[in-house]
Symmetry: C2
Subunit: 221 residues, 2 copies
């Protein structure tokens, strides 16, 4: 468990910002910017700089007073924290439009994560073939046979909502420890399994909420 | 601007949970559960119950001591807060695999949001046609002509990363006020425009972080 310098559990909101900090510092290094400060980081992230300073303070002294943050040092720090030094192979279940989009999505370009196996039901014409990127598409009934013989512990579910729980059960049975769930179905899983859900309806509602909020604020001015 | 009962700006983390509260209360009502408590809500959301009580306390008295929360009352409260009583029409730009998945995604099933126009470049074979769901796919050059004559203020960008900024500029020029961005590109927009980004790499990294965290915790036990 990642703990803060105060030996406390890292707040979930901070944990969710770690990939964004990592991305920002990689970008700084790529842009040959050697040092930065909390204001610049906050601006890129869309939060206030106090949030950035509070997050960073949880890890001890990441910067130096009067200097700011060394971008390469911070990039490596977040890379280690996120375990991005190790290769992560991922199985994807559900090769419809969304699944195909995810296979084409370049997770691997700047990170060591890649989809290496895909699954769908026999009715999907891609089953038994290999995608242009060289990813084999297997029948879903092969999960139990394939996964325990692989190093894959992570899966993406991009099937129809009413199939999500059944697919999750099969994946967990085959040794999967973490699931990225693209369906609105709230998966029920044992405690030792981690689920991250991408709820597209929520994302859209959040956008509309902030749009309305901005409109109301403008009216009051 | 939505303010708390203390007349303060609603914390962003709370704002982001509003769609989830709304979804949970709709589900409770659908399941004929008439009242509930912060523990049950927290369990469904995957946060602790103190977070739920703190969020709700910002809005004043949503529940009654010794009774809990009336699910229908809370559903309506969050519906109003999210503006879900009004229809929201949305334009989508980028009808590749992801765009097609989003068109098929049933945002509208339980909410009043729907994609009503789609756009792509002339090279996309769908341009000039209408999808199975009846959504017209226009040439991207028609944005400037179509959008100002519509009630659409919200757009989804699901184009290639290197096209995202250009598409955003065109949309904003045509009167769009809010963008749901599916590319990893961080859009630069004027202050009055709202952007919500769905960063799939971050979602995956967050999953891996929590998986590793759980593994480390298990080891220490």
């Amino acid at each position: 468990m990642v703990v803060t310098k105060f030996n406390e559990v890292l707040p979930k909101a901070t944990a969710k910002r770690l990939p964004q900090y990592y991305r920002i510092f990689k970008q700084f290094v790529a842009d040959k910017i050697e040092r930065t400060n909390s204001q610049a980081i906050a601006a890129k992230l869309g939060v206030d700089s106090a949030t950035v300073r509070r997050d960073f303070s949880l890890f001890g002294e990441l910067g130096r007073r009067g200097y700011g943050y060394d971008t390469a040092v911070l990039r490596d720090f977040f890379s280690d924290l996120l375990g991005d030094s190790a290769e992560t192979n991922i199985a994807l279940v559900g090769v419809g439009n969304l699944g195909r989009a995810l296979i084409n999505y370049r997770f691997h370009d700047r990170n060591k994560m890649r989809i290496t196996q895909a699954y769908d039901v026999a009715g999907n014409l891609l089953v038994g073939t290999t995608t242009d990127d060289g990813i084999p598409v297997y029948n879903i009934s092969d999960i139990k046979k394939n996964l325990p013989n692989s190093d894959i512990e992570t899966a993406i579910i991009s099937v129809q909502t009413d199939k999500a729980q059944k697919v999750a059960d099969i994946l967990i049975d085959a040794g999967i420890k973490g699931i990225l769930n693209f369906t609105p179905h709230r998966l029920e899983v044992p405690d030792e399994i981690t689920v991250q859900s991408v709820d597209l309806t929520s994302e859209l509602q959040t956008l509309l909420f902030f749009m309305n909020d901005k409109k109301e604020t403008a009216k009051k001015k």
